[in-house]
């Protein structure tokens, strides 16, 4: 596998995360998550040694826990590494800098597993506990299942005071890695941002977009205008997918509610069945969105957006047909 297929996520001090991401990108030749994990540990160590004048064990504990998740192709298979760069785990004072390190996330055969990091972890854990306690299993067999659950888990995480709900999605498959960035977020690194946009759309725009930093009016203006158009395109896709994920989440909740209601009241059974059908349809549309994202085919991307637009237009049309007063002339 080649570079560009490894996803790097960080939580904690933004400067350390962004600096490490930049250093990893610039270090050529990293092809596996094992290499990326070791490089991230080496880079953060050098950074902490420098910041603490040679005494990284004196890093301030309060508010300073920097953890990474690195996923992608490994030496043998796809995998996920958790990286604790400071050795700190929670508020307890006995954790030491020497405890820092990388840990391969073990996933059970024939099932799913994973890792969450950051201040939102408590919210996510409580949500997961609540799901299991109420007898609702989280089943992940397809990429659509995974994306739906990630979406729901992350919105619970957004209840944390330090977390917003501008979600970025990443998908790693044996053939390729893609990410979908919230439209209102701009990466500080222009080149990385352009690569992300080009990688997502599959459009032949790299040459024009390279003018973003050009000190020449014509090239610069063309790049900015083009980026604006592309943002409309990729933003349309983001919101089409996010909207379907929200629908799926609502349908899942309604399905669980109706499973209880219909047990006690027969009249709810047809509705229960209907919601189940709609849930499967929504699941299929999300799977289509995932496949489109992985395909990097601009025509399929456009078709997915247009499909969502058509459904929205139809729903609003029906709503107005039934409930809106005639328009005054």
């Amino acid at each position: 596998m080649i570079g560009g297929d490894i996803l790097f996520l960080g939580t904690g001090d933004g400067e350390v995360i962004d600096g490490t991401a930049r250093d990893l990108r610039n270090q050529k030749g990293i092809a596996t998550i094992e290499e990326a994990s070791q490089a991230a540990l080496d880079m953060t160590h050098a950074r902490y040694v420098n910041a603490t004048r040679g005494k990284p064990e004196t890093l301030p504990r309060k508010g300073f826990g920097v953890d990474f998740l690195i996923g992608g192709p490994g030496r043998n298979d796809l995998g996920i590494f958790e990286i604790n760069t400071t050795g700190f785990r929670g508020p307890k004072a006995h954790n030491k800098y020497a405890d820092r390190g990388a840990n391969l996330v073990e996933l059970p055969k024939g099932n799913w597993g994973g890792s969450f990091k950051g201040s939102a972890w408590g919210h996510i854990n409580r949500y997961l506990d609540g799901q299991f306690e109420s007898g609702r299993p989280i089943i992940i067999e397809t990429l659509a299942d995974a994306l739906i659950e990630m979406h729901d888990l992350s919105l619970r995480g957004a209840r944390d005071i330090g977390v917003n709900d501008r979600l970025h999605y990443g998908i790693i498959t044996p053939s390729r890695t893609v990410r979908l960035v919230h439209p209102s977020v701009w990466e500080g690194d222009t080149q990385a941002h352009i690569e992300q946009v080009v990688n997502l759309t599959g459009l032949n725009v790299a040459e024009v977009l390279n003018g973003m930093d050009a000190d020449e009016c014509e090239r610069n203006s063309a790049a900015i205008d083009l980026y604006s158009d592309i943002r409309l395109f990729t933003g349309g896709f983001y919101f089409a997918l996010a909207s379907e994920l929200t629908s799926s989440s609502n349908l899942k909740r309604e399905y669980t509610r109706l499973s209880e209601k219909s047990l006690r009241d027969e009249s709810y059974k047809p509705r229960f069945k209907e919601i189940g059908r709609r849930r499967l349809e929504s699941h299929a549309r999300i799977q289509e969105g995932v496949d489109v994202l992985i395909s990097r085919d601009p025509h399929k991307l456009r078709s997915f957006i247009m499909g969502a637009e058509d459904r929205r237009r139809e729903t609003i049309g029906k709503l107005f047909e039934r409930y809106a007063s005639p328009e005054s002339s």
Binding site: G12, L69, E149, L153, D160, G162, N164, H168, G170, R179
Partner: protein
């Protein structure tokens, strides 16, 4: 702080089928004006 997560699915045969990742975009460094840092990167 922030929120990041990765989950993966391993087949019965033992190979990883896929991984999904999620990240929010708010950093801790509000004082440095880095509220909209992007914490999900391809390297």
């Amino acid at each position: 702080m922030t929120n990041i997560g990765m989950i993966g699915r391993r087949s019965k045969e033992g190979h990883m089928e896929f991984i999904t990742a999620i990240a929010d975009s708010q950093g801790t460094d509000i004082k440095n004006g880095l509220r909209e840092m992007l914490f999900l990167r391809c390297i």
